[in-house]
Point group: C2
Chain length 233, copies 2
Amino acid sequence: MEVNKGVCYGVGVGPGDPELITLKAVRVLTRCPVIAAPQTKSGEMLALDIVRGAVDLAGKTILPLSFTMSQDKGVLQAAHEAAADAVQAHLDRGEDVAMPNLGDVSIYATWGYVMEVLNRRGYETVMIPGVPSFCAAAARLSATLVSWGSPLHIIPVGKGPVAPLVEQPGGKVLMKAGRGLSEIAQALGRTGQLDRAALVEDCGLPTERVWTDWDRLPQDVGYFATVIVKEES
Amino acid sequence: MEVNKGVCYGVGVGPGDPELITLKAVRVLTRCPVIAAPQTKSGEMLALDIVRGAVDLAGKTILPLSFTMSQDKGVLQAAHEAAADAVQAHLDRGEDVAMPNLGDVSIYATWGYVMEVLNRRGYETVMIPGVPSFCAAAARLSATLVSWGSPLHIIPVGKGPVAPLVEQPGGKVLMKAGRGLSEIAQALGRTGQLDRAALVEDCGLPTERVWTDWDRLPQDVGYFATVIVKEES
């Protein structure tokens, strides 16, 4: 007898605070018997920890997925195929799988790679949008990122020069900014934007720190640092 | 006897589907006795309608706020001051007020203007982030907006030329694109991006429509149309 294949859901779970999960994400995560969670090398599963704060995981199968930080395209592709293999084994048994992702699932999300492989193999996938980390960072700072009429630029830090992007008009968000702070500060200073810029580290997590004074930034700002540059008023 | 002043909460309620409200937004909206809702000229309160799908409003005071579509700075400022006046009357009685906003509260949100006036007058405000409409549009299309390393540009349509912004590298989102579709299509065509672009109208609402074929766009695309342009792969 044919078994109907399961569906794989990519679920945005927001930036860190379990209360910033949507009602839809809670429903989908509650209904799926398998939760496939990205796992770091050290064994941490941050997206799963967020889910745990809002959804009862008792009785569910937890499927840790390992992704690599390698820049090698072949190594990356192999990791995505292996993650899809692990998910597929459950889909083939007719089990629905939910894969929680930090923030939203369409912006810099691991989900995209897994979805691509699963779609290519003929499996059904569904995306549940979430609150991006930069919206939470703006809320934390009580800041409007951008008002009607101006563009908003989301800029990843660590691949290529950021200065040309930082120096254009409009609101700006710099993601994973921890390692590029001196280049960012220089570009902001050159264009008179330092007094409109602020930094939030680990937004919504217990380790959260906030700076609005660029002369007082410490040396040890971590990976999940977001710089918010409000548009000129 | 002094009454403690109330707090005004700006609450992002997501793009339209009441299930895309966060747990935190539900809690805040449930706890506040006064809901201040933006109202269009025709009397519609779209953000309030979304809230109604997830929160019991029985017994609450509903405070309709009128905003103008005027381009005149004086007229705009007067409307924002009047909205703040209406909210302030409740805060002065010690009542907390929640103001729901479509999408997120930091991106093109009416909330920003009200917050500015209230803060200037010495009132406490708190922002609750929400799911932006463009994240829901990407999810609706099962599309990754942008993967790590590329910028994402959010571009408002209707003020100034959009072509220079559309033609730069990275993922792009064009907001309220209904009235600029021919300029957008031309810029996308010139830069070979039409096959990576799609349009979602009224995302998540019963009137939702989706197009991926730019040769088949109808003439009557409405105001709340979002164009998604995936980054080049």
